[in-house]
Amino acid sequence: MAADGNMKPAKKLSLKENYAMLTRGLDWEPTYQKKEDIFRMIDFEGIKIHDWDKWEDPFRLTMDAYWKYQGEKERKLYAIIDAFQQGNGQFNVTDARYLQALKIFLTGIVELEYASHRGFCMLGREFPGAGPRIAAQMQSIDELRHCTTQIHAISHYSKYFEGMANFPEQFDRVWYLSIPKSFFEDACTSGPFEFIVAISFAFEYVLTNLAFMPWMSGAAFNGDMSTVSFGFSAQSDEARHMTLGIEVIKFLLEQDPANVALVQKWIDKWFWRGYRLLALLATMMDYVLPKRVMSWGEAWTIYYEENGGALFADLARYGIKPPKYADVTIKEKGRVSHEMWSVFYANRDAVNFSTWLPSEEEMAWFSEKYPDTFDKYYRPRFEHWRQLEKEGKPFTCKCLPQLCQVCQWPCLYTEPDDATEFLHRETEYKGETFHFCSDGCKDIFADEPEKYVHAWLPVNQIYQGNCFLPGVDPTAPDFNPLVEALKYMGLKPGVDGGLLKDSIDAQRWEQWTSRPANIHEGAYTDFVRKTTNG
C-alpha cells in the first residue's frame, strides 16, 4: 500500500451512507425458500406492509458504533459498581426501608428485562425488513445486558440483606408478581406487530419515562449509587428503544391506511396494560422511597399529560387518538398509590417486602401533594390503622383478594368518579363469570376472550389447591391453605413481608449502621446510638 503513491484512502462514509450499507446492502433475497415460509408470523395480524425499505432508523446506529459505545457504558458501570462495593455502599443508602424498594425492583422489573430480551429475539427473527430486524437484535442484546447488570449490581445487597436470593422463584410464584409476569407473557404471545407496538411504543415511549426519570433520580437522592448507575446505564439504551417505538408507529401508519385501526386498538390496550403495571411504581415513588423527588401525581402530569400530550398531538395527523381511558388515569392520579399501599399493608404477610404506615410528617407531605384526595379518603384510614397498631392488634386482611382477569391486580381500585366506591366489573363468557378491575381491562378481555380465559390467576390457583409444595396433604386436620401457599411462594415469616419494624433487615440495619431503619419512625432498637443530648 505504501509503495503505491497514487492510492488514496477510501473516503470515510457518512453516518447515513454507513447505515444504508448495513441495513440495505447486507440483506439478500432468498432463492431456494419462499419468503412467506421464512417469515411465517408476519401476515396473520392483518398489518399490511408494502415496502420494508421505507423503514428509516433515525438513530442510524451502525455495528461499530454499537459495540464501541456499549462497551464504554459497561466499563463505566463496572467501575462504579466496584467503587460501590469497596466503599460499603450498601450501608450508605438512606435506611433499611429503602431496601424494600430494591426487592420490588429485583423481583418485579429485572425479570421483565429478560422477558423483553426474549420478545426482541423473536422480532429479530420474524421481521422481513433488515432495518427493523437489526434494531430488534440490538435491543434484544440491550435487554439481556440490563437484566444481567441489574442482577449483578443488586447481588451485592443480597450479601447483607434478606429476601433477594430467591428472586427468580418468587417472580414465578409470589401472587402479585404475576402482574408484571403476565404483562410480558401477554405481549410475547401476541404477533410481532402487536408486540412492538405494545413494548416499544405504548410501554417504552409513552410510559417508561416515569420509571427512568423520577424513580432513578429518587434512587440517586437516597444514596443508592449502584442502582442509579445501572439504571442510567440501561436508560442510555432506552432513548434508542423509545425512538424505535415512535418509528414503528409512523412506519405502520404510513404503509397502509388499513393499519390505523389496528394500531389504535393496540395503543389503547397496551397503554392501559402498561398503566396498570406502573401502579407498582406509583407506590414505590410515593410510599417506599424514604426521601422523595416528586409525587406520582406530579410525575403523571409531566410525563403523561404534558409529554404524552405532545406525542398524541403529533400523531393526530395520522388519525391516531390519545389512548382510550387516558382520562381515567388522570382521575386516578391522586388515588392510585394510596389505594395500592393500603392493599400491600393489609396483605403484608403475603408479599416479599416489608411495609409500614406513613408517619405524621409523611401524611403532611401527602396532604400537600394530594390536596383533593388524601385528607378526605386516605388519612382517616391510616390513622385508624396506626391506632390499631398501637393497641397491639394491627389490621391484616384475612382472605385473598378477587383478582382482575386481565391485569391480575386485586380489584382494589375505586370508581373513576367516586373514590368511596370500589370499582368492579364482570362479564359472562361461555357460562362462566369473569371479574375486572376496570372498564379498560374488561374491554381487553372482550376483544380476545379466548386468550384471557387461560390466565393463571394466583388466588384462584391457591383456592384450587395448585400452589402447595410436594408432599403437602390438604386433607390433614391441621392443614392451613394460606400458610402452605406462602411456603410455596418462598415467603418466610419475619424475613419476607410483615411490618418493617419486626423484620430481620431492620434489626441488622440498626445493629450495623447505628442509624434508624426507617428515618420517618425513629429507632426500632437500642442499637441506634444517641447522637443528640435530647
Binding site: S14, L15, K16, P58, F59, R60, L61, A65, Y69, E72, K73, K76, N209, F212, M213, P214, M216, S217, G218, A220, F221, V228, F232, Q235, S236, E238, A239, R240, M242, T243, I246, K250, V293, E306, N307, G309, A310, L311, A313, D314, A316, R317
Partner: protein
C-alpha cells in the same frame, strides 16, 4: 425546516462532567430551552424543536466530539429524532 409546533420536546442527560459541555451547548443553541435539574439528571425542555450541534459541543469541550458520544450519558428524549454527523434534532412536526 422550521416546525410550527410548540408542543414540548425534551432531552435528558446524566448530570456529570462529561455532559457539562453538551448541556451548555444545547442551552446556547436553543434560546427557548428550559433547564430542569433533578438529583443526578438534567431534563431540557423546549417548545417544538431542539437541536444538539456537534460544532458547539466540540468548541465547549475543547476537542473533536463525535455526536454519537451523547449515547453514553443520554437518559431519555421526546420528539421525532433526526441524526446526522453534525446535528441531532428532536422535533414535533405538527402543532
Amino acid at each position: 425546516m422550521a416546525t410550527t409546533s410548540t408542543q414540548p420536546v425534551f432531552i435528558a442527560f446524566q448530570d456529570n462532567n462529561d455532559t457539562r459541555p453538551i448541556i451548555d451547548a444545547i442551552m446556547a443553541d436553543n434560546p427557548n430551552a428550559k433547564l430542569n435539574e433533578m438529583p443526578a439528571l438534567v431534563k431540557i425542555d423546549c417548545p417544538g424543536r431542539l437541536v444538539v450541534r456537534r460544532d458547539t459541543i466540540s468548541e465547549l469541550a475543547g476537542r473533536e466530539f463525535d455526536l454519537r458520544e451523547i449515547y453514553i450519558n443520554l437518559i431519555s428524549l421526546a420528539g421525532e429524532v433526526d441524526e446526522t454527523d453534525e446535528e441531532f434534532v428532536l422535533e414535533w412536526k405538527t402543532s
